[in-house]
């Protein structure tokens, strides 16, 4: 029985920053696709995917239940992989990314928040999972 990952203070800050990033990334990606999709279709589609994943991650951190917790692990893990892979590619295969996207240069265009945030997110998920197991363990001992 898990409460929302954001149930306590720092988790709420994480949700807030994720929400701002999700909003910014999705809005910018939508704008890029609407106005100059043909210039860098791969890059812009990746940006759109990143935006959707950020939105899912924000919801998954804010909502309670084990299913949402799993979604949080998957989405945040995916984002971290994304920013690392695309960040590297945007440097070594720069021709694929003629215009900056949210994961270009490891999220440089967003003050590297896309790089740091999923790391913090995963640490937070791990910590809250540890706490819940401890609490469940104590409840089990108290009941027996």
């Amino acid at each position: 029985m898990s409460a929302a990952a954001s149930a306590s203070g720092p988790g709420r800050v994480l949700v807030a920053v994720y929400a701002i990033l999700a909003l910014a990334a999705t809005a910018r990606s939508g704008y890029q696709i609407a106005t100059r999709f043909e210039e860098a279709p791969v890059a812009y589609l990746l940006s759109a995917l990143a935006g959707v994943v950020y939105i899912l991650a924000t919801l998954a951190l804010a909502l309670p239940g084990p299913a949402w917790r799993r979604v949080a692990w998957v989405t945040i893990g995916f984002e971290l992989a994304g920013v690392l892979v695309v960040g590297t590619l945007s440097i070594v295969a720069a021709a694929w990314f003629p215009h900056d996207t949210v994961w270009s240069w490891f999220g440089r265009g967003y003050l590297f928040v896309p790089l740091v945030l999923p790391i913090l997110g995963l640490l937070w998920l791990a910590r809250s999972r540890r706490r819940e197991r401890q609490a469940a363990g104590e409840a089990g001992r108290a009941a027996s």
């Binding site: 203070g9 709420r12 800050v13 807030a16 701002i20 909003l23 910014a24 910018r28 704008y31």
Partner: protein, 122 residues
């Protein structure tokens, strides 16, 4: 956008952010001053909307893409109220930290909007 007004906005947003960081470090839940500072940031953003609508008609148009500019501005206007609601549901020092994050985000976005308006070429 108006040159000096951009500076006012960025400075106010940064000060609001620093104020809320100080309150959060001091362990304070959002107080009137913290919420008021975000309210001021929002008020300036709304004034910015008005300025941005009127300015092109008096010869002050963005050099960059107007659509991109407005996407930033509309997004920015939504952030302080949303952050305040989210922060006030659970009142703790972390809520104050959320207000700080929102204020800093606005400072960055206004600066970015100024780039689009004054520097970028569409």
């Amino acid at each position: 956008m108006i040159d000096w007004f951009v500076w006012v906005q960025v400075v106010v947003a940064l000060l609001a952010g620093l104020l809320c960081v100080a309150f959060a470090l001091a362990g304070k839940a959002p107080n009137d001053l913290a919420v008021f500072s975000l309210g001021l940031v929002e008020l300036l953003l709304i004034a910015q909307v008005v300025v941005s609508i009127v300015a092109p008609f008096v010869g002050n148009a963005p050099s960059g893409d107007a659509l991109e500019y407005w996407i930033y501005l509309v997004t920015a206007v939504l952030i302080p109220p949303a952050a305040t609601l989210w922060a006030l549901v659970a009142r703790s020092r972390w809520s104050t930290a959320i207000l700080a994050a929102a204020a800093f985000a606005i400072a960055i976005m206004v600066w970015r909007m100024a780039q689009i308006w004054f520097v970028q070429v569409a």
